[in-house]
């Protein structure tokens, strides 16, 4: 019989940390799906390296969430024993890999945000979050550079690569708004200087994305209607499938280890 899910006491700081941990884990898992399938060996290594960075960040964040919660949960239980409605990641990061352009556009939109987010979080009044931010920022900077170079190459490449990159932007754009959302549970953390206000990042995120898009001869969508729900556990159908693969071993063989 499968292992049942754990419960988590989501105080504002636990929830806040879990949300960022889930972003990193789910995007890291998505990138790891490319391992052995990327268009060339160098890219296979790049995607796997980025996955490793993100899963490493997730581990630090989960461990901290478990410590703050102060019950008997740990990084493994938080990753492997929560069901889909308990996951708090952005909808953007659970989007399927699609083609290579889809994966790179998702990475570019996210990393442009993440790099700036972690840079600001280095000044968090929470010493652990500030320390995780300092490591994550350096890694995100590499991810951002890598993804940005690909967007320019794809957009300003062949008709085929341009069309695919443009389709990916059109497809993913509605999932970007959620990165800048703030709810009541986060408001108090922002006031205390533990969290940063993500709405302040929107203008520079938009400017940075527009710069690369211009160089890539790609067009940013006009629509400003944004899809949301991931932060509250309302996910697309894709996350459940991802988790079934991610969690299968621990659900079927509780406590299995290498």
């Amino acid at each position: 019989m499968a292992t049942p899910s754990i419960t988590v006491s989501e105080t504002p700081l636990v929830l806040y940390t879990l949300r960022r941990a889930d972003d990193a884990l789910i995007l890291g898992h998505r990138l790891s799906e490319w391992c052995g399938h990327a268009p060339m060996l160098e890219e296979d290594m790049a995607l796997s390296n980025m996955a490793l960075d993100l899963i490493g960040q997730a581990r630090e964040l989960y461990s901290y969430a478990a410590k703050v919660e102060g019950r008997d949960n740990d990084e493994d239980k938080l990753a492997y024993l929560r069901d889909v409605r308990q996951y708090r990641n952005l909808l953007l990061v659970e989007r399927p890999n699609g083609d290579f352009a889809q994966t790179m556009v998702r990475q570019w939109l996210y990393s442009t945000f993440a790099d700036r987010y972690w840079l600001k979080m280095m000044r968090s009044t929470d010493p652990t979050l500030a320390a995780i931010a300092a490591k994550s920022e350096k890694e995100s900077a590499y991810h951002l550079r890598h993804a940005s170079e690909w967007i320019i190459r794809l957009g300003d490449g062949t008709d085929e690569s341009h069309a695919r990159a443009q389709a990916a932007i059109d497809d993913l754009w509605a999932y970007t708004g959620e990165m800048f959302g703030v709810d009541d549970s986060e408001r108090g953390l922002i006031d205390a200087g533990i969290a940063i206000d993500p709405t302040e990042l929107l203008p520079e995120w938009l400017a940075a994305v527009a710069d690369i898009a211009r160089e890539a001869t790609l067009v940013l969508p006009e629509n400003d209607w944004m899809q949301q729900g991931g932060r509250d556990g309302c996910h697309s159908e894709h996350l459940g499938h991802l988790l079934s693969e991610l969690q299968h071993m621990q659900r079927s063989f509780p406590g299995a280890s290498w």
Binding site: E42, N49, I55, G56, A131, A134, K135, K138, A141
Partner: protein, 167 residues
Amino acid sequence: MVAVASSDADLRRRAWDAAAGVTDPEIPVLTIDDLGVLREVDVNGDRVEVAITPTYSGCPAMNMIALEIELALSRAGFREIHVRTVLSPAWTTDWMSEQGRRKLKEYGIAPPLPASTRRALFGVEQVTCPQCGSGDTELLSEFGSTSCKALWRCKTCREPFDYFKCH
């Protein structure tokens, strides 16, 4: 009690030397001391506490390094050994020792350029070929065989090589 203080210092020195001899499983010519991964060693009676810091968040070598430190210290006669990971201040390639840089180069890996500021991270890096010393090199891939390396190629001797990237 000068004698005790001196023996404490000796004990700490012995513990440090034992831990400092542990090498990176992925770059075996470098010790964790060369890398700047070894941050602190405290001895309190039989108890040794060692602080290490990860190079990258997801570096899979950290568990191995912690295990090797425990083995090295127990071989040196210490009983109670605790290895903890510290995240702050974040590790930077600037902590790599001169000796570490030299050993890397002799091993065939181009050492990181100094001053890993954000500008260095995003500027154009001029990496020297560790094989022939030529400066005429090009980046093949930003991501290499481990998290900490990028893949480069020398346009003079035509050999590919690893570059320990700035962080």
